[in-house]
């Protein structure tokens, strides 16, 4: 008995780990698009690790102090403790700047990876039975990621994020009946309130929301393991099996590699690409504002919607309903996420398809869904672009009026156009002849006589060998079958 066997035996006596061997054989299908969720997961890990580091230095307080720190241009200015401590951890804590910027980048990548992961699920029909619940957990995660991103972005209390907070307050205020009460309860009074919002945002950002996110990620992965990963159609793949690489060791090596790659990219971004230089914006003062006030990218669609919304305000019966804010900033996102939540059920109702699906769709064979999804993506992307109306007007030297009306038009035209074109492309692609052979690149060469010769390139490393039928993960591996059957435990040496 070697030490590994002894350790496993010790654990098995107490926890029965031997019964869990099949977990090691768990198959993860291989496809690049299945990495998107993992990128989100590892960004979250990076967020937690870097966030803990930041929390060791950050002071969640709007109390104003005179700045005496390392950043000379602001010395002697009145700034909040939150702002001063953010400057301190950026300039005076060794490694702090990289980690703070990495945290911000990781947040942007986190939401981005979730959004693209969600698109993958949508376009391949991965939300269908039996995965509707996991789809809904995923939507909740997207929502929480956006909320926590906004909270974290607001914490340093710089001029740009403070203005964002002011807008958030006005959005809450716009809710009929309860808006002013909600806003006052959250902020401890009329904006900017009595300063209580800062520690409240802090505890939400570092404890409450992350715990919910972590718990939901747990549920997300539990359901993934229980239902096993969906797979694309292919040789030997059916609704009742899953073909790919085993958890131990192949998937583990690859996913650990991905973890380090994600961490490495984020660390590099943190060190090399400046993000949110709050010392350039200055500390927040409620009466100050700056040009080109834009939130982080994942809030852009809401900002854009607020910009292109006409100025419709309802007044009557002694009350005001600020539709110009309520509609784009409360009802619109509410409707968006409701639609996301119910989509699997709506689609099942429309198509009448209530079967279990473990094989994913190729988007081209579902032209209607694909066209609708593409139109949706185009719509939100247009709104996102509309959050830069002022910058675009300046850049192209056209009037703000032209840019605004263009976006009002584009927000309708672009989705329709993208939807129609996508539908057409899907139909064309689906009509093309299909072979079971995977696509191979060809090598085109010219002979000395000037003749062109085309030959198929060989298999590239990483291509699954198409001549092999999938087999179960071997529990025992021997030099030969006979050797394995004699019960040799370990791998023979080469």
């Amino acid at each position: 008995m070697n030490s590994t066997e002894r350790a496993l035996g010790w654990l098995d006596d107490r926890l029965g780990v031997g019964k869990g061997r099949s977990l090691l054989d768990k198959i993860f299908p291989d496809h690049w698009s299945f990495l998107l969720g993992e990128i989100a997961l590892y960004s979250f890990v990076v967020l937690v690790l870097t966030g803990v580091f930041l929390s060791l230095y950050f002071v969640p307080s709007t109390k104003e102090i005179i700045y005496h720190g390392a950043y000379a241009p602001l010395r002697g200015k009145l700034v909040s403790e939150a702002y001063a401590s953010t400057l301190k951890l950026s300039f005076s804590v060794r490694g702090g700047m990289v980690i703070r910027q990495m945290h911000h980048w990781a947040a942007d990548v986190f939401v981005g990876a979730i959004a693209i992961h969600m698109m993958r699920i949508f376009f391949t029909g991965g939300f269908r039975k039996p995965r509707e619940l996991n789809w809904m957990v995923g939507i909740t995660l997207l929502m929480l990621a956006i909320v926590n991103g906004f909270l974290g972005y607001s914490l340093p209390y710089d001029l740009v994020s403070g203005t964002g907070l002011r807008i958030a307050y006005s959005i809450i205020l716009s809710i009929p009946l309860v808006g002013s009460y909600l806003a006052f309860f959250l902020f401890g009074g009329a904006f900017p309130g009595n300063g209580i919002i800062e520690p409240r945002m802090f505890i939400l950002h570092v404890l409450v929301v992350p715990i919910i996110i972590a718990a939901l990620i747990g549920a997300h992965l539990f359901m993934l393991v229980r239902q096993k990963h969906a797979q694309f159609p292919g040789k030997g793949r059916t609704e009742h099996n899953v073909v790919g690489s085993p958890l131990y060791p192949t998937f583990m090596a690859k996913t650990l590699g991905l973890f380090f790659i994600v961490t490495g990219v984020l660390w590099m971004l943190g060190g090399l690409v400046q993000i949110n230089p709050i010392w350039q914006y200055g500390p927040y003062q409620p009466y100050k504002v700056t040009y080109a006030v834009q939130p982080d990218w994942y809030m852009g669609w809401l900002d854009g919607a607020m910009r292109i919304m006409p100025s419709w305000e309802f007044t009557g019966f002694g009350h005001t309903i600020p539709l110009e804010v309520l509609l784009p900033a409360v009802l619109f996102p509410g409707l968006t996420f409701t639609l996301f939540y119910v989509w699997p059920f709506v689609e099942a109702k429309v198509t009448g398809d209530r079967a279990v699906h473990n094989i994913l769709d190729f988007p081209r064979y579902r032209p209607k869904r694909t066209a609708l999804g593409a139109a949706g993506v185009a719509f939100y992307f247009t709104l996102f672009s509309a959050s830069a109306t002022d910058v675009l007007a300046n850049f192209f030297q056209v009037s703000l009026n032209t840019v605004l009306w263009s976006f009002r038009f584009l927000a309708i035209a672009v989705p329709v156009l993208v939807g129609l074109v996508t539908y057409r492309i899907c139909k064309e692609l689906a009509a093309m002849p299909v072979t079971d052979e995977p696509k191979r690149s060809v090598i085109l060469s010219r002979t000395e006589a000037g003749e062109y010769v085309m030959e198929e390139a060989g298999m590239r490393p990483g291509d699954a060998p198409d001549d092999l039928d999938p087999i179960a993960v071997p529990a025992r591996i021997g030099a030969s079958v006979e050797d394995a059957s004699t019960g040799g435990a370990g791998l023979p040496t080469r």
Binding site: R166, S180, G244, M309, P322, P461, I477
Partner: protein, 337 residues
């Protein structure tokens, strides 16, 4: 420790074994009554099976690449240590540790992708759906036992629901009502009073000659410098009074005009002033207000003009408010009439 007696050699009694001593040892036989898993034949695969071949075409080549990546990673890590030791520098820190992490990640991923068995491997799925019997039993257990709880105790159940309802209501008070004050009239009123001086952020009173035509400054009532609700833009649009709206003829002495600086759309400070067109612009969502026309919004999502503060110049030449704002400032809300 002595296996026979369960007594540690130093004499400390840990436990008294109450079963056959021989079975305490690790190599004891399986107890008879234990649920025995039949020895299912494990899949046996020979090392030369094509499924176990690495995916790499040229294994030696791949191994060399991975070795190179690991060396690069070590250099990156060491480089980061050196940069840190020298006092740190964000770009170099990012480059060194970034290269280290990326290389180690690439090495691991390549190891998994190219050197480990190429497969493909397969695993059967099990239906999520249980058998009909299992489903019936589950439903029966939930429903029948539930009935057992409530049988002939419907009234108790209603009482319980009532108590829970009361708890639900009262618990809302500490978790919601305690959070902050009631709005009352806080949104309707500012700290501007009849006769308030116009002061700068530093508390300096504004005099009639302080601004040139085209000049702009943010003012507050004395004692509320920097206040988010009271912030007001003071502009000088001309040298003589002008009329922004009928009935406001006396509000602009010597061409001075004052508007609330809180945008009526989403509350950002309306901070940009273009003298040529006499427009105020909010940089958040690009609402544009016409200074000469009572700050009427001419563009963008703002629904209402910025409230105008009636001005006067007192006998000493100081600018003061004739009256407070005649309406709530800032964005709309339900109670605004």
């Amino acid at each position: 420790m002595n296996r026979e007696t369960g007594v540690q050699s130093d004499g400390d009694r840990i436990y008294e074994p109450d079963y056959v001593p021989g079975h305490a040892s690790g190599d004891r036989p399986m107890p008879e009554n234990r649920d025995e898993v039949p020895d299912s034949p494990l899949p046996l695969v020979a090392l030369d099976d094509p499924h176990l071949m690495p995916a790499a075409k040229n294994v030696k080549h791949t191994e060399r690449w991975i070795a190179f990546l690991i060396v690069l990673a070590s250099l990156g890590f060491a480089g980061y240590g050196a940069v840190y030791w020298q006092g740190g520098q964000p770009q170099l820190e990012g480059l060194t540790l970034g290269i280290g992490l990326l290389s180690i990640g690439a090495a691991l991923a390549a190891w998994g992708k190219y050197l480990l068995p190429r497969g493909p491997f397969v695993e059967e799925r099990h239906d999520m759906r249980s058998s009909d019997t299992e489903r019936e039993q589950m439903a029966a257990a939930v429903i029948d036992r539930g009935k057992l709880v409530m049988r002939r105790r419907g009234f108790l159940g209603k009482m319980l629901a009532g108590a829970a309802g009361i708890l639900g209501v009262v618990i809302a008070f500490p978790v919601i009502r305690s959070l902050g004050p009631l709005p009352k009239l806080a949104l309707d009123k500012t700290n501007w009073r009849k006769g308030s001086y116009l002061v700068t952020i530093h508390g300096r009173k504004i005099k009639e000659d302080d601004l040139e035509v085209g000049g702009i400054i943010t003012v507050f009532p004395p004692g509320y410098e920097g206040n988010a609700m009271d912030q007001t833009v003071l502009l000088r649009a001309s040298t003589s009074p002008f009329t922004t709206k009928a009935g406001r003829e006396t509000w602009t002495p010597k061409g001075y005009v004052a508007y609330s600086k809180v945008c009526t759309h989403a509350g950002c400070p309306v901070g940009l002033y273009q003298e040529q067109t006499q427009q105020l612009l909010c940089p958040c969502h690009q609402s544009v207000f016409d200074v000469l026309d009572g700050a009427q919004p001419v563009f963008g999502p703002a629904p209402r003009p910025l409230p105008q503060l009636p001005l006067m110049i007192d006998s000493e030449g100081y600018l003061r408010a004739q009256q407070p704002y005649d309406q709530p400032v800032g964005p709309g809300f339900w109670e605004r009439s």
